[in-house]
């Protein structure tokens, strides 16, 4: 009786393996393979034996990339320009920041060996991925403005940190407003 049952079970399992070939179970658990037609004795137990294993995830991960070229520029420790702040979900530069941008532009005109990196940031209320895009658009808005003031676009890099690098971590409007910013980082050549 029992062997018949197991034959059916195995047949069923095989049918499923066939019918649902793309299905999951393929990974770590591998039932031992024995012939379904074996006589019903001690082997009966082995037939339905599963060895539970798992592929170990190494904590050490090799990075096969060539090392990033050593930075030719270093970041200034403190920003000499005020952050440009943005409205919620917006990336247009408000007119009130024109004077800040004019002073950035004037400084760049005087310091021709310097480069400028503009970081775009967001408050935490959006979703992370969209905020990375929004932060990029904020940085780009500022860059576009500076370019319109005559700064060479070649000298300006932009990068977004979305909501990942807040300057203020409380859940208040005041705090969120500070985080919705474009932040200037001056990059100066190494060894100069």
């Amino acid at each position: 009786m029992k062997s018949g049952k197991h034959v059916i079970a195995l047949t069923l399992a095989l049918l499923f393996a066939f019918g649902l070939a793309a299905c999951q179970k393929k990974a770590a658990v591998q039932p031992e393979t024995t012939q379904p037609t074996q006589p019903q004795t001690m082997e009966k137990k082995d037939k339905d034996m599963e060895k539970v294993t798992e592929k170990k995830i190494d904590s050490k991960i090799e990075s096969v990339d060539v090392k990033d070229k050593g930075a030719q520029y270093v970041e200034s420790k403190e920003s000499m320009f005020a952050d440009i702040l943005f409205d919620y979900d917006k990336y247009a530069v408000a007119d009130s920041y024109k004077s800040v941008l004019q002073s950035v532009s004037a400084w760049m005109a005087k310091n021709l060996s310097a480069r400028l990196s503009i970081e775009g940031h967001c408050d935490e209320r959006g979703t992370n991925e969209y905020n990375l895009a929004l932060g990029d658009r904020r940085a780009k808005s500022v860059k576009d403005y500076l370019v319109s003031l005559g700064v060479s676009s070649e000298r300006i890099d932009i990068i977004s940190y979305g909501e990942e690098r807040p300057v203020c971590t409380e859940q208040t409007e005041e705090c969120w407003a500070k985080n919705r910013r474009a932040h200037f980082v001056i990059l100066t050549k190494v060894g100069k």
């Binding site: 049952k5 059916i8 079970a9 047949t11 069923l12 049918l15 499923f16 019918g19 649902l20 299905c23 999951q24 179970k25 393929k26 990974a27 770590a28 658990v29 137990k45 082995d46 339905d48 034996m49 599963e50 060895k51 539970v52 294993t53 798992e54 592929k55 995830i57 190494d58 904590s59 050490k60 991960i61 090799e62 990075s63 096969v64 990339d65 990033d68 930075a71 979900d89 990196s117 209320r125 959006g126 979703t127 992370n128 991925e129 969209y130 990375l132 895009a133 929004l134 932060g135 990029d136 658009r137 780009k140 890099d157 932009i158 990068i159 977004s160 940190y161 990942e164 690098r165």
Partner: protein
């Protein structure tokens, strides 16, 4: 026991108090027509019956008695199996206090019928070769017979995996569908100011950090076979898309440029990915072949286009665009043509992700705060699944029955799971570990 049918995922329109649509029903019936006759009718034996119809949202929970296995770790194993089965919402684990049969005694259906219990699980566990050897037997009360008998072996450290493997077998015996109890969830967590990718079991146990470089590593995405992962990392003031091969445990940078580059998704065959990049000025969506690294730009607007999620059959891409004035979910063909807007309700819909059967898209919708919503790709049947705190980054389990997401409902943001109809929401990531961006592993 009742004769029950096999189906696929259940989307209970709980929020609207409505039954599944006729299309969903039609699909379920189609599946029944396809699956059951193919496998079951060939064997006209009662063994092939399906006990639980997982396509029916109102299905009665199957009352089951699960004994602590006799022997070392037996109690722990039984507890894991009970937790696994209970979370599915398909089983009701009956309290041990009502078991009148001795654990070592012979199974007798008369002991269970009066209690309404329909299935009984007994087993033993013993130390063997420094590991565990476990035997489990599953009984059908109404028919008074054994329906599954199996032995398992593992090392001591894998006791949870052993228990989850038993859960998978039990689940499959009742539903004819594979269980997800050995799957894992990759997510982003913040530790000491660094944000990196972690992996935990789907039930929140065994959290471990992947040793990836960089202080900012985001958006983990599994390949369909689970052997690889892509993610985004900022290194030296540049965002790159990286590919991790779990077989070799090595990573490669597969795309970088000036601006912001974000990993999107694998295509089902694993030979191409989507990503978003601002290399041409504004965030746009690209496809890259992993064979020759050639890229193809799919969107060209002056606004934002991000979060490209590939449909399970690889023919379509869901994404977010603000071309209409606010971020909304759109779908296009994988060649970039035939762009259609999916969401129209609300002014902030982001982070789309497909159900495994392709019949739904789960996303983050803003209703005051961010919530998890689900919609058909044609824009119909919008259902909101959460209502507490901010809830983001949703994605489905490989069987389509569960959704993982992040939530700040308990202040610190954490990774949560729930059934695909919004039931049984619970945090699974470790308390105090700021966690988000979860993705369920495919296997």
């Amino acid at each position: 026991m009742k004769r029950i049918r096999a189906g696929q995922e259940t989307i209970d329109n709980r929020q609207r108090g409505r039954r599944p649509t006729s299309a969903a029903l039609g699909k379920a019936i189609l599946l029944v027509l396809l699956v059951v006759p193919l496998h079951a009718s060939l064997l006209t034996n009662a063994f092939a019956k399906v006990y639980i119809d997982i396509s029916s949202p109102s299905a009665k929970k199957l009352p089951i008695a699960i004994y602590d296995l006799q022997g070392p770790s037996g109690k722990e194993i039984a507890e894991i199996i009970r937790d696994d089965l209970t979370f599915t919402g398909l089983f009701m684990c009956i309290d041990k206090a009502s078991y009148i049969e001795p654990a070592a005694g012979k199974f007798s259906p008369q002991n269970w019928r009066p209690l309404g219990i329909e299935a009984v699980i007994k087993g033993t566990a013993q130390e063997k070769n420094n590991g565990l050897a476990v035997e489990v037997v599953l009984y059908d009360v109404l028919e008074g017979r054994e329906i599954l008998s199996r032995q398992y072996q593992s090392t001591r450290e894998l006791v949870r995996q052993l228990a989850h493997t038993i859960s998978n077998d039990i689940y499959q015996a009742f539903t004819n569908m594979p269980g997800i109890f050995r799957t894992r969830i990759a997510f982003v967590a913040e530790d000491d100011g660094e944000k990196g990718i972690y992996i935990m079991d789907w039930d929140g146990h065994r959290t471990r950090k992947l040793g990836l470089k960089g202080t900012l590593v985001l958006t983990p995405r599994w390949a369909a076979d689970g052997s690889k992962m892509i993610y985004s990392s900022e290194r030296s003031r540049q965002w790159g898309v990286y590919l991790l091969d779990f077989g070799k445990m090595s990573e490669k940078k597969i795309f970088a440029s000036k601006g912001t580059n974000m990993a999107g998704d694998f295509f089902p065959r694993g030979d191409a990915i989507t990503f978003s990049s601002t290399q041409d000025g504004t965030p746009d969506i690209y496809v890259m072949s992993l064979k020759d690294r050639s890229t193809r730009k799919l969107t060209r607007t002056q606004g934002i286009e991000v979060s490209p999620s590939v449909s399970p059959d690889g023919t379509r891409i869901a994404f977010v665009s603000d071309r209409g004035g606010s971020p909304q979910i759109y779908i296009m063909r994988s060649d970039g043509n035939d762009i259609r807007r999916v969401t129209f309700e609300g002014s902030y819909n982001t982070s789309p992700s497909w159900s495994p059967s392709g019949d739904r898209i789960v996303f983050s919708c803003r209703k005051g705060k961010n919530q998890i919503c689900i919609i058909k790709p044609d824009g119909n049947d919008l259902v909101q699944l959460t209502d507490t705190g901010n809830n983001e980054d949703p994605s489905f389990s490989p069987d389509g029955r569960f959704i993982t997401f992040s939530s700040d409902r308990e202040r610190t943001r954490g990774v949560y799971i729930m059934r695909a109809n919004g039931e049984a929401q619970k945090r699974i990531s470790p308390q105090g570990l700021r966690s988000y961006g979860p993705r369920w592993s495919p296997n």
